[in-house]
Subunit: 202 residues, 2 copies
Amino acid sequence: MDTAERLIESTQQLLWERGYVGTSPKAIQRLAGAGQGSMYHHFAGKPDLALQAIRRSAEQLCAQAEERFSEPGSAYERIAAYMLREREVLRGCRVGSLAHDPEVVASPALREPLSETFAYLRRRIEELLREGLDRGEFVEGMAPAGVAAALVAVVQGAYVLARSAGSAEEFERAVRGGLDLLSAYTARPAAPAEPRQQEEKT
Amino acid sequence: MDTAERLIESTQQLLWERGYVGTSPKAIQRLAGAGQGSMYHHFAGKPDLALQAIRRSAEQLCAQAEERFSEPGSAYERIAAYMLREREVLRGCRVGSLAHDPEVVASPALREPLSETFAYLRRRIEELLREGLDRGEFVEGMAPAGVAAALVAVVQGAYVLARSAGSAEEFERAVRGGLDLLSAYTARPAAPAEPRQQEEKT
DNA sequence: GTCTATATCTAGATAGAC
DNA sequence: GTCTATCTAGATATAGAC
């Protein structure tokens, strides 16, 4: 693997762990095993390198999500597969966590991949919901665009709850709660993709 | 207002805007109009000062939320009042945004107020949901603890979507989507606290 | 309680040799 | 393409005078 590539991957990792503000060129170089001169030869500086890294992470995230969206199964099942997929919860979302970084948000260029990612996720879930409505999988009365946004938000918010509590179980609880809400719109009890949470339903 | 107080409030503001990693003692002193010696006289250092500031923000947030939870009205209406309350959306959540800061999450002391805040919000919403179930406001089949966690997560995630897009409308859309989902569990169409979103319901 | 001086380390880069 | 040297600024304090 060449140096530029190692620098990008190291930056991806550090942005995930420490955010943009918390990531220094020196730390990137150390992790990539590259010198100062090497980094400034391949990239114009920290913002340039960060942009490449953020774009890469955004693409990878969308690709991972698309794998779940395009599985066989009902709309509910495919949405559940996305929301419940294996995650390193306590590390946070590689893309979403950057939305709290002041310098990322202040830079239209750095912010754009975030914006694209969430627009993509929302749009794909909206499509699945409309498909489900057409097939009679959901009862009428649901506004697909809003519900899709809410489901994406549940996942991002679930990371916040889990990291605040220092426990991945909080993620699980919030996401299953979101699916519980979605199931209230299913025309007949949806067969959940995973066994239900323990909490008894009143 | 005395110096210690001004230092705490300045720290609250900077933590909100820039996070813990992005906030320097010097910036705090500048904003508070206090000198180095003054800050280190009143506080042991940055972590100590930050702890006081985070606790303060957490208390204020819970108090603000409690105002909405204890309004008159149905459970749905009080939850909606909390979720739709006036917010400076693009600034993010003063408490939730700290959940993305690596040094806050790594410190049990700094993390505790976050954990407490979200536990409180979730518990209060769960109580409202149970109350609503007892009164027949919601149909059976809802798991209140999970749904409460999901609703808290929707709000936190909505901040992420809005800041990523650079637009407060994304917040609005996600939160209304969350309420749309909750309304699917209402025994009869809930009277929304605010006019419905424009999107036509299919 | 507050101030100024000082100290050490890192951030984020530029310059020029190899 | 990579390395080392150098630079200015800021982070995060401690020391001691006033």
